[in-house]
Amino acid sequence: MTDDRRPPDGGDATSEHERNQRWLERAANLVLETETLPGPASIPYLATLRERARWRKVRRRIVLAGIPATAAAALGLFLATGRPLPRDPAPLTYVVEGAATVQADSIEAATAASPPSVPGTGAAAGAGTRVRFTDGTVVSLDPGTRMRVPARTAAGANLILDRGRASFTVTHRPGAKWHVTTGPFIVDVTGTRFSLAWESAAQRLTLNLESGGVIVRGSAAGPGVSVRPGQTLIASAADGRFTVTPSGQLPINPGVVRPTLALASPSITERRGARRAGRAEGSPGPGRPEESRDHAPRPDLQPPSIIQPSAPSLVAGGGGVFCARERSEFSFEGSEHKVSVPPVYHLAMSGPRSDKTHSWCGVGSVKLDLNFHESGRRNFMGRLPNQSGQMVISLPHLVDFTDKNVSLHVYIDGPPEARIAAQLYVIHHGKWVNGPLVDHLVPKRWWTINHTFRAENPLNVGPPYPPAGTSLVTDCDRIALIIYSTGGPRNWSGAVYVDDIAWK
């Protein structure tokens, strides 16, 4: 930034201004380091959103058309109240019965250890908590279950199951629209009786369908997996496996129900699910805008009624079919590569060594231990030494990365609630030229980190340093990766695997 924020006079005013800037920068670092990353925002009712947006435009056009003053005054009052034209039907409401803690839109069924905080609920803990909607839909919450109701319309509601198990009896009405979100999954319901359980530690969803029909979307479900009455669906967000069995039976051969419904967009589908199915669309990970995507609609197909064989492990060969056309400069298949970690500032990564248990392509990768914690002294950047880790790969000769897309693939083995950010660097004559910070990475899957470097690349070290101009990337002797702990638990140990560094 080159803005001149100095006050006109120097001396004490200048030092006070600099002091204020330092305070704000440190306060900002503190906020960023301590903020919990938001979970997925609830998807709005698209039809309602479009309808309201359309009526906003209609209202604006009416105002601009120049209605006579009296009518305009009346319309202005009408607009000021914010009511749409025509009036939306009233959304459903609900009451909570039984022992529960109710706070804003959150309902937590009481357990024996946590008595309810809502006065007047009266019933003893464990007596059963029910949420009754005005259309007759009832949701029964097991003790300790927490559910939220962030959005309601006349057609239904958007429910979020944070933890535990709930049973749903959804009244079937024409146009009814209910969505239950849990973890990365969305269950679309029109009139159904089913139970849903979410285990956040195992990232596993269990759905028992008694009657009606549901479609489960999200994670590796792609555009949707249909579940029929009398079936139980167990879906794992950790490894993308789906198992459908008759209710009451344990799966003998857990397998994968491959969603073969039409792909609408690879941005919805977990790309590893698409790779397993052998499709070419999408990219191996986020951040590859150059790859083409197929948006052509395909005919809807029913999911197969037989259980398909298990897909290859995501840990080894995570690149799948993309390895057929990827050629990497560093594949870590056994050749010696100079990988190092620094002794200062970024200490969370250590012990680089060859590994054969995880790979993007081929069988090998480089493994480093991860150890995030919050002890130690803050460095001059305001960061604790074990809140970030760094690895550096020395190149055998100088490389010109101008107009080259540099990529590498990262797999983080850590607690599922952890959130990581990663940043790719190339080093040109000692200058660290960085790509953007790739945030919101989760453990237990491969990620692609890449950046296209240009002739002039901005150098943004970050606070407290101002931006430091630009740099070429014509004579680079090293590539580096920095990983930050940005959310979830702040003290944990695990591992990171890096594979297949390429540039083209």
Binding site: R22, W23, A27, L30, T34, P38
Partner: protein
């Protein structure tokens, strides 16, 4: 997903593409609103407001690649309005005043939690525009030119108002000697 693809999905994508695009935009809006008001606030209603305004104004976007800045601008505008309404309601006594809500932060560090709580209490009493400029510059790390665009101000006006925002928030920090000491020492109340 590039900006062009995102805008295309928002405008013309099928239901699933739209859902994914709205989810992504929703996360950005939620982050901006969350950073504006600090931890402890459930921004769901404001996020929905941001998304509704975005849906209505999407046709105004000329360069799809600047969709992020467009969303940031709308989100900060909604946040500023909400902050002004909340202040007005407090002034006329329509809602109870009180301490900031308990802060939920990722760190187990009690000092950090207290410092964040104190800082957001200062931000809550600051001007809505000052707060918005702080979020844009220090939390979202936007360049001055980008800050000018999302706030619909000229470059010169942006620089002047940023300087004044730094001064005003700095003075408020200085009045909280505990927080000032924490920030001066680089992260310790000791």
């Amino acid at each position: 997903m590039s900006g062009t693809e995102l805008v295309h999905a928002l405008r013309e994508g099928d239901a699933l593409a739209q859902a994914a695009a709205w989810a992504r935009v929703g996360r950005l809006a939620r982050r901006i609103v969350g950073r504006y008001f600090g931890p402890g606030l459930d921004p769901a209603d404001l996020v929905q407001e941001v998304l509704m305004r975005l849906a209505a104004r999407l046709d105004e976007l000329r360069d799809p690649e600047s969709i992020n800045g467009f969303v940031v601008g709308i989100a900060l505008g909604v946040a500023r309005n909400q902050a002004r309404y909340a202040k007005l309601r407090r002034l006329v006594g329509l809602t109870p005043t009180g301490d900031s809500p308990e802060v939920t932060v990722a760190a187990a560090d009690m000092e950090a939690r207290d410092a964040v709580r104190r800082f957001y209490a200062i931000l809550e009493s600051a001007r809505a525009e000052d707060r918005s400029l702080f979020v844009a510059r220090y939390l979202e790390k936007l360049e001055v030119t980008e800050i000018a665009v999302v706030h619909a101000m000229s470059l010169g006006t942006t620089k002047r108002r940023m300087a004044r925002a730094v001064e005003r928030i700095g003075k408020r920090i200085a009045r909280d000697q505990v927080l000032a000491g924490y920030l001066s020492s680089g992260g310790s109340f000791a």
